[in-house]
């Protein structure tokens, strides 16, 4: 029988995907760059969605590490170290995220760090790499986690 903790991991991944999808949807809305209240709400929504998406992704990845009995990274750089860790194949397990998907996760991490510190000094309409990364993560995260699950916890 498969480990029941995959249920929470799948929920966290679904939350990440939903938030990333919504963020991309906001960014592609025709009013995303307008100066009116709709544009402002879309930009705020975009920033919040990407932050929430990355937080859910981290939640899922930490749960995967827990499943494996691996201690999560600690210290000031733990958010960045988590991405580095899951991109690495270690003894007894493959990488959890392939390098290009890990790079996308690192992009949303950097964006979250920025957006969490200050909303007013940057222009979300200029963050094309973040929008592309969120789109990539939304499309590929479920299959990446499914492939890892298949490798580490195959059905009997």
């Amino acid at each position: 029988m498969s480990d029941a903790r995959w249920i929470e991991i799948d929920k966290a991944i679904a939350s990440a995907v939903g938030n990333f999808e919504r963020g991309v949807e906001f960014a592609h809305h025709r009013n995303f760059q307008t100066d009116d209240v709709i544009g402002s709400a879309l930009r705020m929504g975009f920033m919040h969605a990407i932050q929430a998406g990355h937080t859910s992704l981290e939640n899922a990845l930490l749960r995967v590490l827990g499943l494996l009995g691996e201690a999560g990274p600690s210290g000031d750089s733990w958010h960045a170290d988590l991405i580095g860790r899951v991109a690495q194949a270690l003894a007894g397990r493959p990488a959890i995220l392939l390098p290009d998907l890990a790079a996308a996760a690192d992009e949303t991490r950097r964006f979250r760090n920025r957006a969490a510190r200050a909303y007013d000094n940057f222009d979300p309409t200029k963050v094309t790499p973040t929008i592309d990364a969120a789109d990539e993560l939304a499309r590929r995260l479920p299959s990446a986690i499914a492939a890892f699950r298949q490798a580490i916890d195959p059905p009997p």
Binding site: D76, A80, D106, R117, D120, N121, D123, K126, P129
Partner: protein
């Protein structure tokens, strides 16, 4: 009992440590910038040399788009390695009024 080290003494020591660490950080950032064809722009208390015990390090990353993420990661890591708290942003992401506001105190590292 050993001499008590007051909070204000501890804060002063930490502020000095952070200033010294930023001095070392500059060299690392400059070497990276030269090697990778971009520049880092230091601003805020780290650029002015008046860091407090809890000051972070404000850095604008000004690199070509395809090198931006790696340069950003390098700046973060260089700060963490020196027990400094990075506050990094891509220059290309910034609003014009924000850049105009910080422009007078920017220290270009390249």
């Amino acid at each position: 009992m050993d001499r008590i080290v007051t909070l204000s003494e501890r804060k002063a020591t930490e502020a000095r440590r952070r200033c010294d660490a930023v001095h070392d950080l500059r060299s690392a950032l400059a070497a990276y910038a030269r090697e990778h064809g971009g520049r880092f722009l230091l601003f805020g208390s780290a650029a002015r040399g008046d860091m407090r015990f809890d000051s972070d390090v404000d850095i604008l990353v000004d690199f070509p788009a395809d090198a931006l993420g790696d340069a950003w990661n390098f700046a973060e890591r260089a700060c963490w390695d020196r027990h400094l708290e990075p506050d990094v942003i891509a220059r290309s992401w910034c609003k014009a009024d924000f850049l105009a506001h910080v422009e007078p105190e920017i220290e270009v590292i390249q």
